[in-house]
């Protein structure tokens, strides 16, 4: 395609949007609401997952050794290697009896610790095992319980189940809603194209007499819908960028108690994923909706 044809097609596409203004606006509005919901869900999920991740990072499975192993550095090392080799495990931290005592002193005793001369926690050397994904805790724990040389496995069942449960639910609900909205958007885009074709039926006929190719007649419709899709994507991105910080301020004010756990992502982090995905979906709806319609109804 020549440069001048390219610009001509773009120009016609833009003109079409105005000629078919009501339907163009309706399509833009639907795509915008679809992608606004998507953006809001995404922001919530991303933050939620961030919070879950921070929480998960704090959740560790702790294993203590049987007495004979406590005396035996080599056995301890072997056990540590076996655990690290598991696919569920992201990190294994060895805490020696002395370290455990130091932490305990700092956390709970403060200055009262001075009366102790020997380590009262001898035999409390342990591994703190961090998981890649909290939902894999069960399988890891059952493995750990079958290992020899291990006296006790400490873990928190409730936290793990709750976190992964909520996480899944939020994802399913949002995927469902977004799916429905996508279908509605494509339907509306397709209608916009059909209306456009019927408005321009005579014109298209004339173009064909003069020798216009299918591509030449169809391309402006596709450009029109691509632009509609991109505008439909840009609007919610703008809204989210304006509103995001305000909402965060509101939430932190309301729930001051939670401030220590709620670690929100900055808008830049959200944008890094949200902008390309939103524009991609907007463009995709426009292209897909128009191409299928034009192929079906514009058999030139």
């Amino acid at each position: 395609m020549r440069i001048s044809s390219f610009f001509y097609t773009i120009k016609q596409g833009i003109k079409n949007i105005f000629r078919n203004a009501v339907f163009s606006l309706a399509s833009i509005a639907t795509i915008a609401s679809c992608l606004l919901l998507f953006g809001v869900f995404y922001a919530i999920i991303a933050n939620f997952q961030n919070i879950v991740k921070t929480a998960e990072e704090g959740v560790a499975v702790t294993v203590f050794f049987t007495e004979d192993v406590c005396e035996d550095d080599v056995r301890m090392k072997e056990i540590g290697d076996l655990i690290s080799a598991r696919s569920e495990v992201s990190k294994v931290v060895f805490v020696s009896a002395d370290q455990a005592w130091e932490e305990f002193k700092v956390d709970y005793l403060g200055e009262y610790a001075e009366g102790f001369t020997e380590n009262p926690l001898a035999g409390s050397a342990n591994y703190q095992i961090y998981l890649r994904d909290i939902s894999q805790q069960d399988s890891l724990v059952s493995y750990l319980q079958t290992m020899t040389g291990i006296r006790e496995v400490n873990y928190s069942k409730v936290t793990a189940d709750a976190l992964s449960g909520v996480n899944n639910m939020v994802s399913y609900v949002s995927i469902g809603i977004i799916g429905i909205l996508l279908a509605v958007s494509i339907f509306l885009i397709s209608n916009t194209v059909m209306i456009g074709i019927s408005i321009r039926k005579e014109e298209i006929g004339i173009m064909k007499y003069i020798g216009a190719t299918d591509f030449f007649v169809r391309a402006p419709f596709v450009v029109e819908c691509l632009i509609i899709g991109l505008i439909g994507a840009a609007i919610p991105l703008g809204i989210i960028n304006v509103v995001y910080d305000k909402v965060l301020t509101l939430v932190t004010q309301r729930f001051e108690v939670l401030n220590s756990i709620l670690r929100f992502l900055p808008i830049q982090t959200i944008n890094k994923t949200l902008i390309p995905i939103s524009l991609g979906i907007g463009a995709g709806i426009g292209l897909f909706g128009s191409i299928i319609t034009v192929r079906k109804h514009l058999k030139v």
């Binding site: 020549r2 001048s4 014109e203 004339i206 064909k208 007499y209 003069i210 020798g211 299918d214 030449f216």
Partner: protein
């Protein structure tokens, strides 16, 4: 603009631009609109096609435009069989034809300039050439000053001249006109005909369907008279034949 000449099969002589061989066209309903029509048009000819309403003149034009395909028989244009054209090749084929209709068929939302320029956009003429060619062709048809007007702001004669400019701007070897003066008064009709004659003199083959007896008689061109789907008469320097 050149056709690709047919490479195998039936060879049509170089100067026989349009050849109908026993062409029959039957629509879904009724008797054949064309019934076994054979004719040849040579390069550079000017041909009138006349006949009663319903005699098949527009059908003949639509067959040439490849809007319709014959039920039987073959049509060759510059040696190429139209029934062998693939759907995708039709737009390219049509660029060899300029077309002018009774109802002008201009795009209403576009001004004169855009309507004419469109024919060049289709063939991907660079904008800088379009800007030069459109005013040139508009001044040939006598409409240079009205390039900004929308079709509705023009008289019938002016609209038809825009349609002619659009048909001619790509310099097609063939110009097809289906009742180009059907909606025009005698003065405008004559002007359009003079224009067609001028274009023909520059080498374009012109085929004009018309009911305008006075013009046909005056211009002394080849006249093909149709009746009920067959060619009743075909005369060099002919006149309008009255049936009744």
């Amino acid at each position: 603009m050149a056709f690709g000449r047919k490479k195998k099969g039936r060879v049509i002589p170089e100067d026989e631009l349009i050849v109908f061989e026993n062409v029959t066209k039957t629509y879904q309903t009724g008797a054949p609109a064309l019934n076994g029509v054979s004719l040849k048009v040579k390069k550079g000819e000017f041909v009138f096609i006349v006949g009663d309403s319903g005699s098949g003149k527009s059908t003949l034009i639509k067959l040439l435009l490849r809007e319709l395909v014959p039920t039987e028989g073959e049509i060759y244009v510059n040696g190429v069989s139209l029934s062998k054209l693939r759907r995708r090749q039709v737009p390219k084929y049509r660029r060899n034809l300029g077309v002018v209709f009774q109802d002008f068929r201009l795009i209403k939302n576009w001004n004169v300039y855009e309507n004419v320029a469109f024919a060049q956009r289709i063939v991907q003429t660079p904008n800088r050439l379009i800007k030069r060619n459109v005013p040139a062709i508009l001044s040939i048809v006598g409409l240079a000053s009205k390039y900004k007007a929308k079709p509705m702001q023009l008289s019938g004669g002016e609209q038809q001249r825009v349609a002619m400019a659009r048909a001619l701007i790509n310099k097609p070897p063939i110009l097809l006109c289906d009742e180009p003066t059907g909606n025009l008064d005698p003065k405008n009709s004559w002007e359009i005909m003079k224009l067609l004659e001028q274009i023909n003199k520059r080498g374009t083959t012109v085929i004009v369907v018309t009911h305008n007896r006075e013009i046909v008689n005056e211009m002394q061109k080849r006249v093909i008279t149709m009746k009920k789907g067959v060619i009743l008469n075909d005369e060099e320097k002919g006149g309008y034949i009255d049936e009744d």
